[in-house]
């Protein structure tokens, strides 16, 4: 592959740019539309050059209570990630350093729950939530998002903990270190980048989640996914507002996503790709 002729090299570079531009263009167009007026957003000739306005953003934030949904998205994404971490760190530790003959099958079982279609468990969860008054509650989402991401987080932490030399843990055992000491002094410092990017991935997945949010919440507990889907019957006259609301909902997580590409592949393939 080192021996390409210069036209081939040029061709590859042009292709690489073309792919990036074409794939990103719809997102760029969304961003552009968000700075138009509603009238310009729905004009029959697409406008690339115009004097930008933030009216769409003002409409999304002031008139449409964006902040309410933003807070719910933050609570559900961060809350569920914290629960995941609290449950997954001891589990992954045990799977790596306290192995038994049940370890592999337990890990495999946990991963297999991620292959279950959410729609297969939707109805009972809806009915139980109704009885427990968890419908339209952000805390209900926190609990279900944690269950949704737990297998992925366990799996990623398992792969990170495996990179820690066992001798370090053995030495700590001989010194009589407690589990908490080992966690705080050894495991967390040694795998901090991995832990942080795993957490970030869990936040991204919870943030973008639509199925549970749409089915279990409506207003009070609703996240940005529900907020944005409220624009689904918006006609042309609201496209700038719709675009601004969309940009406000995806931009932070798009940037976070750029930094989690590697974990994303590792986490969503559950070790099926080596």
């Amino acid at each position: 592959m080192n021996r390409m002729s210069w036209p081939a090299k040029l061709g590859m570079n042009i292709l690489a740019w073309l792919i990036a531009v074409l794939m990103f263009f719809p997102i760029f167009w969304l961003l552009l539309t968000s700075f138009k007026t509603n009238a310009l957003a729905a004009s029959r000739t697409p406008a690339f050059f115009f004097s930008p306005t933030i009216a769409g953003y003002v409409n999304a934030i002031v008139d449409n209570a964006y902040v309410h949904y933003l807070i719910n998205s933050c609570i559900s994404a961060i809350g569920s990630t914290l629960i995941c971490m609290a449950l997954a760190i001891p589990a992954a530790y045990s799977m790596v350093f306290r192995r038994s003959k049940y370890t592999d099958s337990t890990l495999l079982w946990m991963l297999s729950t991620k292959m279950l279609p959410p729609v297969g468990v939707l109805i009972p969860i809806y009915i139980v939530y109704k009885d427990l008054h968890l419908l339209d509650s952000v805390w209900g989402l926190v609990l279900i998002f944690a269950a949704m991401n737990l297998p992925i987080v366990v799996w990623l932490l398992y792969t990170y903990f495996k990179d820690i030399p066992e001798a370090i843990i053995e030495a700590a055992d001989i010194d009589g270190a407690s589990l908490l000491t080992k966690l705080v002094r050894i495991l967390v410092p040694l795998t901090l980048p991995g832990l942080l990017s795993t957490g970030l991935l869990a936040v991204v997945l919870a943030w973008n989640e639509a199925f549970w949010a749409i089915n279990l919440t409506n207003v009070h507990g609703a996240t940005l996914a529900v907020f944005v889907s409220g624009f689904k019957s918006a006609r042309g006259q609201y496209w700038a507002s719709m675009s601004a609301a969309s940009v406000l909902s995806v931009l932070p997580i798009l940037i976070a996503g750029w930094f989690t590409q590697r974990q994303l592949v590792r986490g969503l393939t559950f070790g099926a790709v080596k």
Partner: protein
């Protein structure tokens, strides 16, 4: 050897400790996934409608009989299969082509360009649906309509004329980056010296790809196909926003059908029976995937 009992109790204590560490996570998943799963199967045999709560009792297989004879359910199954297979073919082939481009060392700034190309995957499915439905595919004000007019074609109303194909296109845009990133990871793991050796032996670009790259990629391709099948079977957000399953049932897939049964018809029994079908469909693929992951884990440990 001197104290077999003591050793055994020590082992038992160690096992207990490890169970105490895994336990909370395992119990949490059990409560959230396995218990509701059993409840779904139970409801599928019950008469249960949220509008008529006084009608109760055993339904036998009547819920199953009802949905199997429901044309919307049949359409939902067929649409789901078409959607999964089409999206698989598109995302894997295009994703592989993209991965080959971004694996090429002669591409200047390939990591940055790849990041931009990967962006659709991080967009909320709901926003993906809105963005394509309105800004791209709208027959009056959409960008594609403007493009078609510029080319002298009268704009096609994509979402009402070819709804399923449009949904397939939208989902493929979102998921091609996933196939690309996974295949790219495995392409870049192929050692440069193997390709070098092939070159020295006189292999051309196509032969190198066919006999060296493709066999190495085989496992990843298989994994991507399995994983994407699992994820495509549960597509919901894009359809909910872009077409609401319509027109009619033209773009209703199985999850959307179940959603309609539960929250439009309030028929919990029928919705649960549909959900059992969804679980079975997913399990057919999951069995192969679990077997593959299991082999990988065992190899590692």
């Amino acid at each position: 050897m001197a104290h077999p009992n003591k050793q055994r109790s020590k082992q038992a204590a160690a096992r207990l400790r490890s169970a105490a560490l895994i336990g909370p996570a395992a119990v949490y998943l059990f409560i959230w996934m396995i218990v509701p799963l059993a409840m779904t199967v139970y409801y599928s045999f019950r008469r249960y409608n949220l509008i008529e709560p006084y009608i109760k009792g055993n339904a036998g297989f009547s819920n199953y009989a009802n949905i199997i004879t429901d044309p919307n359910f049949i359409a939902g199954i067929i649409n789901t299969l078409i959607l999964v297979v089409s999206c698989l073919v598109l995302t894997v082939m295009i994703g592989l082509a993209f991965a080959i481009v971004y694996n090429n060392d002669h591409v200047v700034g390939k990591n940055l360009l790849r990041t931009f190309a990967a962006s659709p995957f991080f967009i909320m499915p709901v926003v993906t649906g809105l963005l394509w439905k309105n800004l791209m595919l709208n027959p009056s004000f959409g960008l594609l309509a403007a493009l078609q007019r510029a080319l002298g074609i009268s704009p096609i109303a994509f979402l009402s004329k070819v709804p399923l194909a449009s949904v397939i296109g939208i989902i493929s845009w979102q998921w091609t980056p996933f196939a690309m990133l996974v295949l790219l990871a495995s392409l870049s793991a192929i050692p440069e010296d193997i390709k070098e050796a092939a070159y020295l032996d006189g292999a051309g670009a196509w032969q190198t790809f066919r006999y060296i790259v493709l066999p190495q990629l085989g496992r990843s391709l298989y994994a991507v196909i399995m994983l994407e099948t699992i994820f495509f079977l549960v597509i919901f957000g894009q359809i909910y926003v872009a077409t609401s399953g319509g027109p009619g049932n033209a773009s209703t897939n199985l999850p959307y059908y179940i959603y309609l049964q539960a929250f439009s018809s309030y028929d919990i029994g029928a919705a649960s029976a549909g959900a059992v079908f969804a679980i079975i469909l997913a399990n057919i693929v999951a069995i192969f995937l679990v077997r593959m992951i299991s082999a990988n884990i065992r190899e590692d440990s």
